[in-house]
């Protein structure tokens, strides 16, 4: 079977036919730098030329992190990650799939959430010291972290700490945000896994609930959730009538308006650009402003950074393998070189992936760096 007509049309839109085969993508791709086999250039060329059944069964179809680094360098303006998404959708429709991490438990969890009349018990994390409300201008979208917190108990990471810190920060500004009782997974992972059908169901449910809440601002701690809402929901026709902000943007605004005073950080900080926040959404400055505010002597830039940044090594709970670990180890090494004590993250997935890598005792001794969310760090610095 060759790629069907419809798919060919869509591939055209990614501009893939304009590929010069220059190989710049492969030279900057984090996976290619550690893998002996993976090459975006080769994969793209094969997608255009080869019998697609072979291609659709290819392990490396699922190795791309959709981190978008290649697109920053591509001289032909090719939308490579969209091409990956299209091919994965086609693969799924033909009955092929990648290797899901955690035996696909998280994908199942996400698909279960497409059920319309679900009655979740997902707000148990909201302890008595946190103030939320049913109405108001602000809504805090927590995403799947309540599930991650249980799922990853063995890593002893507290993914909900970021959420609790965020609510505490909002409370300090007199904001008691709405937290939806039946919020769904944003659909990010299913979309990038090529399960577009189930992604749309989740998007629809979230869009309906959020629009019904009449909130004016939706706040996120998760870079993936924000990128789904801002880019994917829009693209797929689910409009959200509210302003969408990452917590770092909210904090930055409060600094600009002189409403937020921060003390110097007790620890040396550095910052990991999440691919979703940086390359997908162009949010580079706000988190840096927050971390550097009144803190220039306790902040070190992690190299490479911004557009060139190295991502956390896995995306969409797919193909977590030796390449992922190599990327993560490399990034931790770079973080260690800054002599920072804390690697600041702005996405729960970065937190999970780096914490997982640090389970390796040798690595942990070699790179004794702690992973903390930006909201948690900022809350501790608030005056």
């Amino acid at each position: 079977m060759f790629l069907d007509k419809q798919l060919k049309e869509k591939i055209k839109k990614t501009n893939a036919l304009a590929c010069l085969e220059c190989g710049k993508c492969t030279s900057v791709c984090p996976v290619s730098t550690v893998s002996r086999k993976y090459s975006p250039r080769v994969l793209l060329t094969r997608a255009l030329r080869q019998n697609s059944d072979l291609l659709l069964q290819e392990y490396d179809l699922w190795s791309c992190l959709t981190c978008g680094k290649c697109e920053e360098f591509c001289p032909a303006d090719i939308h490579y990650i969209e091409l990956m998404q299209l091919l994965r959708t086609q693969a799924q429709n033909s009955g092929f799939d990648g290797k899901c991490s955690h035996s696909g438990a998280l994908q199942s969890l996400q698909r279960i959430m497409t059920t319309g009349n679900l009655n979740q018990n997902r707000r148990a994390w909201i302890t008595d010291d946190l103030e939320i409300s049913d109405k108001g201008d602000y809504l805090y979208f927590v995403g799947c972290t309540p599930y991650f917190d249980i799922f990853f108990t063995d890593l002893q990471l507290n993914t909900l700490e970021a959420a609790r810190s965020s609510i505490k920060i909002l409370n300090r500004f007199g904001i008691a945000p709405i937290v939806l009782p039946n919020e769904r997974c944003c659909g990010h992972d299913l979309y990038w896994n090529g399960d577009t059908e189930n992604f749309k169901k989740l998007a629809q449910l979230n869009a309906e609930m959020i629009n019904a809440s009449e909130a004016k601002y939706i706040l996120f701690s998760c870079a993936e959730c924000l990128s789904s809402f801002k880019n994917l929901y829009q693209q797929q026709g689910f409009t959200i009538h509210a302003q969408l902000l990452h917590m770092s943007q909210f904090l930055n605004e409060k600094i600009s308006s002189d409403e937020l005073q921060l003390s110097e950080s007790a620890e040396m900080l550095t910052y990991q650009d999440p691919c979703r926040l940086g390359r997908h959404l162009g949010i580079y400055d706000e988190p840096r402003h927050v971390l550097q505010h009144n803190n220039s002597s306790h902040y070190r830039e992690l190299q490479p950074s911004r557009k060139q940044s190295l991502c956390c090594g896995v995306s969409g709970w797919m193909n977590c393998d030796i390449n992922s670990k190599a990327i993560q180890t490399k990034r931790l090494e770079q973080a260690h070189e800054t002599e920072a004590e804390v690697l600041t993250v702005a996405c729960p997935k970065c937190q999970i992936h780096f914490t997982c890598t640090l389970q390796d005792k040798t690595l942990n001794t070699k790179y004794p760096i702690r992973i903390k969310d930006i909201a948690t760090i900022t809350l501790a610095r608030m005056i």
Partner: protein, 144 residues
Amino acid sequence: MENFEPKIVTFACNWCSYPAADAAGVGRMQYSSNIRIIRVMCAGRINSSFVFKAFELGADGVLVTGCHIEDCHYLFGAKQTVHNYDKIEKLVLMLGIEPERIRYEQISAAEAPKFARVINEFVADVKKIGPSKLKTTPAKSSNS
């Protein structure tokens, strides 16, 4: 709800609860035919993905069975089951799936009557609360 015949996925370990199921059959003990047994070598292999997948594919209830802690043929397997099940239960309840729809029991190879009793009780409990509310479109591919 009178005629509701629930679909129950039962995971059983090769060395204890599965032989117990066998013995129950050989001993002609009556137990409900609503269960589909999936045999695993050790119940320690069962993690949340097994249970979620069963629910995703339309199971009305999931029963996890294995050896008593000290009987596990892989030494630490049954302990792992207890650990995994604790997480599974929390996640399933967070999803809003009724507590009646999951259960974990340790059943030794010699406890055929217990196997039959647990099955009958579980099926009766699930019958009481009716069919699963989950409506999902499973992935088209088989291995996710």
